[in-house]
């Protein structure tokens, strides 16, 4: 309980001052008047006394002074503690403790030190800080965050509508994403600017762990298929680890099978750091996952940062395509014309212009024919092609048969294959019961040579999958529902698992009784293949039918087929991505969306790259519109993963999405604590930088008074003050008159 005095309860200070000045002025005039009268007798003294009393009474009547009684309590200061919950909290700290354990100790010590303080404990990492539910718990169990953004946390606290704290305490290892190494104090002060409070820091670790790590991998420019890509790999050895030369490898992960060594080198480590440039060439476009690793080093406390995974979106400058045709026809001409007209296609073509039985009636030098380099093409040069088109080509007479296993491996490793029909294709081309048959989207088993072609003219039918598949969208946009009649077809069997028929025969059936596929798309491990069983696609370019679209349907058809083969997102039936970068041991979530936007059911299969081990298989209902369905994958181990999404009802060939999970990501790449940065932040904001053992020295802000009661009472009742002032003024007037003053 306390009391105080105030000149006025309701008048603002300027009015109080004005009243006092006027009263003083009146008194001065009275004294001036008496001095000019030269009267110093009793009568003058009486005038002066009554004048002073009247002025004082008038001033009291105007101001109405009050006495204030208050009752209140003393509240502790408000302090916000920001605890680093980034993934580096799980790295080794000092004295055999992890930084997470050290953080728990720091929180316990702060709890004791700040016993009388109104404490708010928040964790920071990605974006705005989160409230730590039980800061006094013996374990610090906050889930690890992907980054350590202290600046964002400070800004969020400073602009929050909660009570502003009187001080901030940061508990961290100092290895922060923001503020960075450059002027961290100024950056932190700017982030917390509206508060203008000290930021104290508590370092949970000071000593570097013994570690060898791939600290960073930087690609110089975009990754383009078939073009060398330069990677700058930075490695580091900390904690006194003597590394000397560190061997580094860059391996490309494959869907099903061992990874492929793409480049290797040695980094000479000096002053704990070394950089090596690796040059590698990737053959396939699309998402490619590289594993950059160093050999395990003895004594390494953090083996998780020995390898980094780099997901590259490999583009292609041009699609390098091998077009092999068994004989020149209008169909060959049409396809070649389109391929040559597309500037994005780097075409290598070989047509069989002469069979062994043809009689050219000329000596060799009169012919413009060159040897078909089948062995070079399908061994040495095969990996350099993005896709191979076998058009009406018989494998047997030209020596391709012996290369079919490597062609199948080529598809398995990510190459594209299109087999176009004709009298020398599919079973007629001796592909049945070969390795290549296993990578085609249609089966060729059980079809005799004599039954290998069907000469009857037919009108192909677009299947329900074809009607919805983006790959036929451009063609159907030009032609509508119809397709030109075809003069016969190669006979093929059932669809292989995972393949989709977009166009089928109206009457002919497969051994299982289903309509025979005419255009089928399939995925085989890393690669894709297309089977087109007719040789009349040229009618989309040149025919009375084609004239209606000025021949544009042919280009639309092949552009989409080649685009799908090359995994052009325009032709994928499902859109898949990760909700956030995947880190091993943390919840990973996929987002899935149907290109059709009509709420399809999808079968999702997640497999581990390399082993092909099935991680997850689930049916998902995709939402309508542009919304994506979240699919939690649980906690994954480090490595590459492949997601296959197949829309139900065989609506389209499956989409694939490859991604990698890293053990620690950027947070583990540089495991050194940075107490210097914490000290700079504290110094710049007027705080103190402490270690775990110095929490007791944390300065506490002053306590605050909080009022609970307040009473205001007038010293003199206003009516009495006014009455007294009036009587005294009247008395003063009478005395003045008697003294001869006006």
């Amino acid at each position: 309980m306390s009391s105080s005095f105030a000149l006025s309860a309701d008048l603002a200070l300027p009015y109080v001052v004005a009243a006092c000045v006027l009263a003083g002025l009146g008194l001065a005039l009275l004294l001036l008047e008496l001095w000019r009268k030269r009267d110093s007798g009793v009568r003058a003294g009486l005038v002066a006394a009554t004048g002073v009393l009247a002025l004082a009474a008038l001033l009291v009547a105007v101001l109405r002074p009050v006495r204030i009684h208050t009752r209140g309590t003393s509240a502790g200061p408000a302090v916000a503690v920001l605890v680093d919950a980034s993934r580096s909290v799980d790295l080794p700290g000092d004295d055999g403790r992890s930084r997470r354990e050290a953080t728990a100790l720091a929180l316990a010590a702060l709890g004791e030190r700040l016993a009388g303080v109104r404490l708010r404990v928040l964790t920071f990492g990605d974006g705005a800080p989160k409230v730590l539910e039980d800061p006094r718990a013996p374990r610090f169990d906050a889930p690890p965050e992907r980054t350590s953004d202290l600046s964002a946390a400070l800004r969020a606290v400073a602009t929050s509508t909660d009570e502003p704290p009187n001080a901030l305490v940061v508990v961290s290892d100092g290895r922060l994403d923001r503020p960075g190494e450059d002027q961290p104090g100024a950056a932190a002060r700017a982030a917390a600017a509206p508060l203008e409070v000290p930021i104290h820091t508590v370092a949970v670790a000071r000593r570097e762990p013994v570690d060898a790590a791939v600290r960073a991998v930087r690609a110089a420019g975009a990754a383009v298929a078939h073009q060398p890509l330069r990677l700058a790999v930075e490695v580091a050895c900390t904690g006194g680890m003597a590394c000397g030369e560190l061997p580094i490898t860059a391996r490309e992960l494959h869907h099903d099978g061992p990874s492929l060594m793409r480049a290797s080198g040695k980094a000479r480590v000096a002053d704990g750091r070394g950089v090596v440039d690796l040059e590698l060439t990737l053959d396939r476009a699309g998402k490619r996952i590289l594993e950059i690793g160093i050999d395990p080093q003895p004594g390494d406390q953090i083996p998780g940062n020995d390898r980094r995974y780099l997901t590259l979106d490999v583009t292609r400058d041009r699609v390098r395509l091998l077009h092999v045709a068994g004989r020149p026809t209008y169909d060959t001409r049409a396809l070649r014309t389109w391929l040559k007209s597309d500037a994005s296609v780097d075409l290598v073509a070989f047509f069989i212009l002469r069979t062994p039985t043809d009689q050219v009636n000329a000596v060799g030098d009169e012919l413009a024919l060159i040897k078909f380099p089948v062995d070079d093409l399908f061994t040495l040069h095969l990996p350099s092609f993005d896709a191979v088109v076998l058009q009406d080509f018989d494998a047997e007479p030209y020596g391709l048969t012996r290369h079919l296993p490597s062609l199948a491996s080529y598809v398995k490793n990510g190459g594209g294959l299109i087999m176009v029909g004709g009298p020398n294709a599919f079973v007629s081309g001796h592909y049945g019961r070969t390795a290549l048959a296993s990578v085609l989207p249609v089966a060729l088993d059980g079809i005799a040579q004599k039954d290998a072609v069907d000469l009857a003219t037919f009108e192909p039918v677009v299947t329900p999958a074809g009607r919805r598949a983006p790959v036929l969208g451009p063609l159907r946009g030009l032609l509508g529902p119809g397709l030109p009649p075809m003069s016969g077809t190669n006979v093929v069997g059932d669809l292989r698992p995972g393949a989709t028929a977009l166009v089928e025969h109206p009457t002919r059936k497969t051994p299982s009784g289903k309509a025979m596929p005419v255009l089928a798309l399939g995925e085989y491990k890393n690669g894709r293949s297309i089977a087109l069983t007719v040789d009349g696609a040229h009618r989309l370019l040149f025919s009375t039918f084609a004239a209606e679209t000025s021949g544009r349907a042919h280009g639309a058809f092949w552009d989409a087929l080649l685009g799908w083969l090359m995994r052009d997102p325009r032709f994928e039936p499902a859109v898949v991505d990760l909700a956030a970068p995947c880190l091993a041991g943390e919840e990973a979530t996929l987002r899935l969306r149907s290109a059709f936007g009509d709420g399809a059911q999808a079968k999702v299969e997640v497999t581990r790259m390399g082993s092909g081990e099935l991680v997850r298989r689930v049916d998902v209902a995709l939402p309508t519109g542009d919304d994506a369905a979240p699919l939690p994958l649980g906690k994954l181990d480090a490595g590459g993963y492949s997601v296959k999404v197949e829309l139900a009802d065989g609506r389209a060939a499956p989409s694939r999405y490859d991604f990698a999970c890293e053990a620690g990501g950027d947070e583990w790449a540089d495991p050194r604590p940075d107490p210097v940065r914490l000290a700079a932040i504290a110094r710049a904001t007027g705080g103190v930088a402490l270690g775990l053992d110095g929490v007791d020295e944390l300065p506490l802000p002053e306590a605050e008074q909080v009022l609970s009661e307040r009473h205001v009472r007038a010293l003199v009742p206003p009516w009495l003050a006014a009455l007294v002032a009036a009587l005294l003024l009247g008395g003063h007037w009478i005395v003045r008159r008697r003294a001869g003053l006006a």
Binding site: R327, L353, F372, P397, P423, H538, F542, S550
Partner: protein, 271 residues
């Protein structure tokens, strides 16, 4: 040790994939039985070379050269892997069937009547779709047809004019290596052509190519070549084969993989 099987376009026959050849011949023979132009081709013959004769006005296809298109197909099949229609047909310039296939031969000895509007429109559409028109003058000595054909083509393609093409053009190396153009008469060493978008779309020969190909009953050539000799007729056939192969393969022999080889072979000075 098993000897490697040479996979080659150029080597002479060393083994015969007999079933395939039989199938091809059977298919083509079956298709040839059906000479009607409106009937769809059989599987495998759908994209076969077909030297259709273009008729304009009231012209009809008669005379000694009516056997030439079949001979052309026959020679193409005998010498190359390309399939061809053994009974080529005729098509009128104002018939929608003109757009069924990308090749027609316009040949005559006389100045053609002016094309009707529908004929101009049909030919313009044929060229716009990427078709190839061969104009062959039966009497290059007079040149009446050549002049008339150029005049009418100017109406079809007013913005294009013929240029001379010689051995530098892919037509002269699409199958045989040719040093000059030749037909029933020796004529000019070069052909005239209208090239659009890098592709030859109209070829004008002043060599009576069909005359060199024409054959009577029993396979005897009915029209003498001038100045004469079997070699001239052989070279004319080779030019016809090259035109067909250009049609079927477009500029395949301009590809980079062929260029160094063909330049070396040309340097040897072979015809």
């Amino acid at each position: 040790m098993r000897a490697p099987r040479p996979a080659t376009e150029a080597q002479s026959a060393w083994h015969a994939p007999a079933p395939r050849l039989r199938r091809r011949q059977l298919l083509l023979a079956a298709a040839s039985l059906c000479a009607c132009p409106r009937v769809a081709a059989a599987f495998g013959e759908e994209g076969a070379f077909n030297p259709r004769i273009l008729l304009t006005g009231t012209d009809e296809w008669r005379g000694a050269r009516t056997t030439a298109p079949a001979r052309w197909s026959e020679e193409l099949m005998r010498r190359t892997s390309a399939p061809a229609r053994l009974s080529p047909t005729t098509v009128r310039a104002d018939d929608p069937a003109l757009l069924a296939e990308p090749f027609v031969v316009w040949a005559s000895h006389k100045d053609p009547d002016p094309l009707s509007r529908r004929e101009v429109r049909g030919l313009r559409q044929f060229i716009a779709l990427g078709g190839l028109l061969l104009c062959d003058d039966f009497e290059p000595e007079r040149g009446a047809f050549a002049r008339g054909a150029k005049r009418e083509i100017t109406r079809v393609l007013p913005d294009a004019s013929p240029i001379e093409i010689g051995p530098e053009n892919v037509i002269f190396r699409s199958f045989y290596l040719l040093r000059r153009a030749i037909g029933r008469i020796e004529g000019a060493p070069k052909l005239e052509a209208i090239v659009r978008g890098g592709a030859v779309q109209v070829i004008l020969t002043g060599h009576d190519l069909l005359g060199a190909l024409a054959r009577g009953a029993g396979g005897v050539e009915t029209i003498d070549v001038v100045p004469g000799g079997a070699r001239q007729r052989e070279l004319a056939i080779r030019l016809a084969v090259n035109i067909a192969m250009y049609l079927l393969c477009s500029n395949y022999k301009d590809d980079q993989v062929h260029a160094p080889f063909l330049m070396r072979r040309r340097a040897l000075g072979q015809p």
